[in-house]
């Protein structure tokens, strides 16, 4: 059986098993086992992929299979992965498993919560393994819809407002996207029997430039909304602030990556000419949001808002790098997606742990936590250092690759925007160190904090699951970077560079 199919079957079976589970203990056990298996399967896929590549298989897509689904419209269920999707699948598996551990103590409606959470993850896995635009869109929606329930039911604060806002804005993005995808379908010429939804076939056949000019911006913005493209990012601070911990982790960690992945895999890959023509405009937007998000984060006092704005900055860098339209920068973009996914999930996990103990997320209300919560604080410092691009952690590798790639453009426009984007490394240091200095260091400012419970085993497991890959990528990035770089060949061919 195709291993990619397995990646969809495991979560589906987990959901089925969850439906029959009775109480909380059972539900979380089923979830951990299911997602643990998924974790193993994802790593198995990674090794299988690397083995295939090592044995000389240079196909664009590996592990492909195709099932006809609705022949009148030529909708198929096409599976296949390259280095980029494998990397993102592994990321998703890690973050999902960590999220399940972090939700170990979920009180209300645990079973339903885990079902929704895993349904969301299934959508993400599905999105990364399919090569058919229609199926991709289907999985995309499958990932977005449970978010509404997860925030609306298990959220905190103004959760109805946030859930509604997030869902409506993402649905608005989907509307653009649907038009863009249909436009691609009706302009596709690659297939022998009429139009096609298959990515590789569309790419091979090409889309007329006039059509590209209409549908590129629609597709890019449609995916961009999920990737926190300025000015469509405002769902993110409110959404994260209201979402329960594991949902924030999954959302910022992997769901936002769907946006970047879509921009790369669909918008730029299928419409390279329009991308080259219009890149400048989106570089303005994304380059701006890199700085803007970082400055916005300085002003925030709520930890989740800080992280949300930080994500606007970091995800802005992902789209910025994709728009550089060269191999190095795109490689950096994918690395940044993985790095940001890991560290932002770590951030949200830690914020959740802190909130459970101190019942506040306001930075100024906490102080001296390093003394009372050494494990959580040390992890927070590591996450912070990863976020500000410390060498030896994953963020550095990604950012440097992006900057070197962006520097390959020698014209004044690109240079100026690149240097502006580079300057964000300073602003990032400011907001990260402000939080670390105020919240973790200094004297303990609340006598009640002296008795805060230390991190439990499931919290430690969740945090370590995320820290280890951050450090591993940061110290030895070559294999990952090469795996991704090789998979960028097709898009570089498309761009005619």
């Amino acid at each position: 059986m195709n291993i990619l199919l397995l990646l969809l079957i495991i979560p589906t079976l987990t959901i089925l098993a969850l439906m029959f589970s009775k109480e909380r203990e059972q539900a979380r056990l089923v979830s951990v086992v299911g997602m643990g298996l998924q974790f193993v399967a994802a790593f198995y896929l990674l090794f299988a992929f690397l083995r295939e590549r090592a044995s000389g298989n240079t196909d664009d897509m590996l592990f492909t299979s195709s099932y006809m689904w609705f022949s009148p419209l030529n909708i198929r269920f096409d599976l296949g992965v390259d280095g980029v999707s494998v990397a993102l699948i592994v990321l998703t598996a890690i973050v999902t498993l960590a999220g399940v551990f972090i939700s170990w103590r979920m009180e209300d409606l645990a079973k339903e919560f885990f079902i929704s959470l895993i349904a969301l993850a299934t959508g993400v896995f599905g999105f990364f393994v399919t090569l058919d635009l229609f199926t991709m869109f289907l999985f995309y929606e499958l990932a977005v819809i449970p978010m509404y329930l997860l925030i609306g039911i298990w959220g905190s604060g103004p959760k109805e407002y946030s859930a509604m806002k997030l869902t409506l804005m993402l649905m608005g993005g989907s509307a653009f996207l649907l038009v863009g995808l249909l436009g691609l379908y009706f302009n596709s010429t690659g297939a022998a029997d009429g139009h096609t939804f298959n990515l590789m076939e569309i790419a091979a056949g090409g889309i007329p430039v006039e059509a590209q000019r209409i549908f590129f911006p629609l597709t890019f913005v449609g995916f961009g909304v999920l990737g926190a493209l300025f000015p469509f990012h405002t769902w993110s601070p409110d959404g994260h602030a209201s979402a329960p911990t594991a949902v924030s982790m999954l959302h910022a960690g992997v769901l936002m990556k769907l946006g970047g992945y879509g921009c790369y895999r669909v918008a730029v890959f299928l419409m390279p000419q329009a991308a080259s023509e219009m890149a400048w405009f989106f570089i303005l937007l994304t380059g701006f949001s890199v700085i803007y998000g970082a400055f916005g984060a300085i002003r925030q006092t709520d930890l989740k808002y800080i992280n949300a704005y930080s994500s606007v900055s970091h995800c802005g860098l992902v789209l910025f790098a994709i728009l550089m339209l060269n191999k190095t920068a795109m490689n950096g973009a994918i690395l940044q997606m993985i790095s940001h996914g890991l560290m932002t999930a770590l951030f949200f996990a830690l914020i959740g742990m802190l909130y459970e103990r101190t019942h506040t997320r306001i930075v100024q209300e906490m102080g001296g936590l390093m003394k009372v919560l050494p494990f959580i604080s040390a992890c927070y410092v590591i996450a912070g250092l990863a976020s500000l691009g410390l060498p030896g952690l994953s963020g550095f590798v990604a950012e440097m690759t992006i900057f070197v790639g962006a520097f390959e453009h020698a014209d004044a426009f690109h240079r100026v925007w690149t240097i502006l984007a580079v300057s964000a490394i300073v602003v990032t240091a400011v907001y990260i160190l402000r939080v670390v200095g105020t919240m973790l260091m200094g004297p303990v400012n609340n006598p009640e904090y002296a008795h805060l419970p230390a991190a439990a085993w499931y919290e430690k497991t969740g945090a370590l699951l995320l820290i280890l890959p951050i450090a591993a990528i940061g110290m030895a990035p070559l294999w990952l970077s090469e795996m991704i770089r090789f998979s960028l060949e097709p898009i570089i061919r498309q761009l005619g560079l």
């Binding site: 900057f403 300073v426 160190l433 200095g437």
Partner: protein, 639 residues
């Protein structure tokens, strides 16, 4: 390279020690962590000395001292031309730095066993020291610009962690943050410089970049941007990184505050090793700076000269013993920078380069000694402020003796170490630019004055009534002092020109007698002035301060540079950009999203009455519509 494969352990061992002590810091006995850390660093000391002996004992070939790469691995490939390597590069300056780092770091590790005894977080302290040593070794052994940047950031974070070691003190937290952010800002320039230089030259590699024929940098040298070659821009930006790390004016503001860290940390990081990384960086790329044929080296020279003078003036007025030493460090690093800036490439021309490296070496020894001595003083009297000290020579005889040697060394009194290196710097400056020579000479006199001001106020002056009788530090603390004192006394006799020159060819060291006499004369004058003013308690210093009130206050308040920075960051960056950005986001961007939603609901509310579900109403609308259509139709037919 045959026979140097063990050098990899100089870097790896501290890293392993860091992992071991860092991960187990909550579980193992603190003392054990200290011993593991110290044991690890002593092994690297042996390996470093072995490397130096092995490297310098073989006579250099015709072409001069060789560059050896005993280890090299690809760490990351950016594209087909640019790849990052992690490796080990041995040449005279990196081997010299190995000796400096391993000696000072070992002394600090041993000293800290006594100084930090009983502190909470003792194991964490040793873990961070190991992290620092690892990063610093990695930095000086770097084979390429990117590797140096990698470890550059890591020494920065080690410095952050160690300055903020007493993390429950708000002042330490603020100082750590300031140090990181100011150097980060400088590193922004450094990074852009690296990106520019590597894009034009297609390599990060030092061997390629430093090729004396200049082939690698030809592209950057020929392209121009705003009136200067791109090469010059890149080198100035790279120097910006170096200036940040080495606390050159105006990026120096973090160094005095960094004294919030434990004193042995100040000795290691903020006196002997990390802060000279900027000097090392310029020296590492010296052939490129020399070939750039632009103002880059002049900028280095003048930045160094201005910092040397500026810091010396401030050092004269400070009352905190560690801050005096911090400004002194700035001033001495300024000396090293100016020496590099005035240097040429060839035999006689290259004197500045040799002098700079020589001074880096001697300074590391005596400044580490000064800080460790100051630590012993602070340990004894539990205060940093000179006003609370005096007459300590009777209580701390060993510290006093060692401290005096260091003071004589830094003041440049023959035959102590600083005399030789300072003489070379002055000779190089005179040869190149009389104005810089004048500044350097003035600074030499001021150095003697402020150092002996410190010395007399702490060890002489009036005998205080101490709460607890100050007592000499334990042996683990004074043994390193003695060793460093011996080094400070004798290491000036090393014939540095034989080993370290810009073009790698051995050159003779010679003493310029005129300059030597002038400089020593000025130093002696400085010492005598300090003796007259501070040996016995008197109100003469206060009178002088009074008579120079404006200037004195200016210097005492460090020329208000901190206040200027604060005003800029607070008013421009926070109030001017960050706050408006956050407001704009919530009110304009998000406001328009909410506005769309609001309009949609309003429209819906306005028209929802139409679909009421009442059949009568629908029927009425249907009939009215039909009538209206019929009327329209008839009217249209009639026309």
């Amino acid at each position: 390279m045959e026979g140097y494969s063990y050098t990899i352990w100089i870097v790896l061992l501290p890293f392993l020690v860091f992992l071991l002590t860092g991960l187990s810091s909550m579980y193992i006995r603190p003392r054990l962590a200290g011993l593991i850390g110290t044991g690890g660093i002593l092994i690297t000391l042996l390996l470093s000395l072995l490397t130096a002996a092995q490297y310098f004992s073989t006579a250099p070939p015709e072409s001069g001292w060789p560059t050896l790469i005993p280890f090299d691995a690809t760490w990351l490939k950016f594209n087909d031309t640019l790849a990052v390597h992690m490796g080990i590069l041995l040449d005279p300056i990196s081997v010299m730095m190995l000796v400096v780092i391993s000696v000072v770091s070992s002394m600090v590790h041993i000293y800290s066993l006594g100084y930090m005894k009983g502190e909470a977080g003792f194991a964490r302290y040793y873990a961070f020291l190991s992290l620092f040593s690892f990063s610093m070794y990695g930095l000086v052994l770097a084979t390429n610009l990117f590797q140096i940047y990698f470890f550059w950031e890591l020494v920065g974070v080690s410095s952050y962690l160690l300055i903020g070691f007493y993390y429950d003190r708000p002042s330490a937290v603020a100082a750590a943050k300031k140090a990181f952010i100011v150097t980060r800002f400088a590193d922004f320039g450094f990074l852009v410089g690296i990106l520019l230089l590597s894009w034009y030259s297609g390599t990060f590699d030092f061997v390629m970049l430093n090729n004396p024929d200049g082939a690698a940098i030809a592209g950057a040298a020929s392209a121009t941007f705003m009136g200067a070659s791109v090469l010059t821009w890149a080198l100035v930006l790279i120097f910006m990184g170096g200036a940040g790390k080495s606390a050159m004016f105006p990026l120096h503001i973090w160094l005095p505050d960094a004294m919030e860290g434990p004193t042995p940390v100040s000795a290691l990081i903020h006196a002997a090793t990390m802060v000279v990384a900027g000097v090392y960086l310029v020296a590492r790329l010296f052939p490129v700076y020399h070939l750039s044929d632009g103002p880059a080296l002049d900028i280095v020279a003048w930045t160094g000269a201005i910092t040397a003078l500026f810091a010396a003036v401030i050092a004269l007025t400070q009352d905190d013993i560690k801050r005096v030493l911090a400004y002194s460090t700035m001033s001495q690093i300024g000396y090293m920078m100016l020496a590099l800036g005035v240097s040429g490439y060839g035999a006689e021309e290259g004197l500045g380069y040799t002098a700079s490296m020589f001074h880096l070496f001697t300074h590391a020894m005596f400044k580490a000694l000064l800080f460790l001595g100051a630590g012993a003083v602070i340990h004894a009297v539990h205060s940093n402020v000179m006003g609370e000290m005096g007459g300590l020579r009777r209580y701390l005889p060993i510290t006093h003796g060692a401290f005096l040697v260091a003071c004589l060394a830094i003041a440049g009194i023959p035959p102590f170490a600083g005399f030789f290196s300072k003489d070379e710097i002055l000779a190089a400056a005179l040869h190149h630019n009389p104005a810089i020579y004048g500044i350097a000479l003035l600074v030499a006199g001021m150095t003697a004055l402020y150092m002996f001001r410190l010395y007399f106020r702490v060890f002489w002056g009036e005998d205080r009534q101490y709460h607890h009788t100050p007592h000499e530090a334990p042996a683990v603390m004074w043994a390193p002092l003695i060793l460093l004192a011996v080094l400070s006394a004798v290491c000036g006799f090393i014939p540095f020109g034989q080993y370290v020159t810009a073009d790698r060819l051995p050159a003779g060291s010679h003493l310029d007698i005129t300059i030597a006499l002038t400089a020593s004369g000025i130093s002696v004058a400085g010492i005598l002035a300090a003796m007259a003013l501070y040996r016995k308690p008197s109100d003469r210093p206060a009178q002088i301060a009074e008579s120079l009130s404006g200037l004195y206050r200016l210097a005492h308040r460090k020329f208000y540079i901190d206040e200027i920075y604060l005003a800029v960051t607070k008013n421009v960056l926070f109030k001017g950009i960050a706050w408006p950005a956050a407001w704009f986001d919530r009110h304009v961007v998000d406001g328009s999203m909410n506005g769309i939603a609001w309009v949609t609901t309003r429209v819906a509310r306005a028209i929802k009455g139409i679909q009421s579900g009442q059949v009568q109403q629908y029927a009425l609308s249907f009939v009215m519509g039909a009538v209206a259509l019929a009327a329209l139709f008839i009217y249209w037919l009639k026309r």
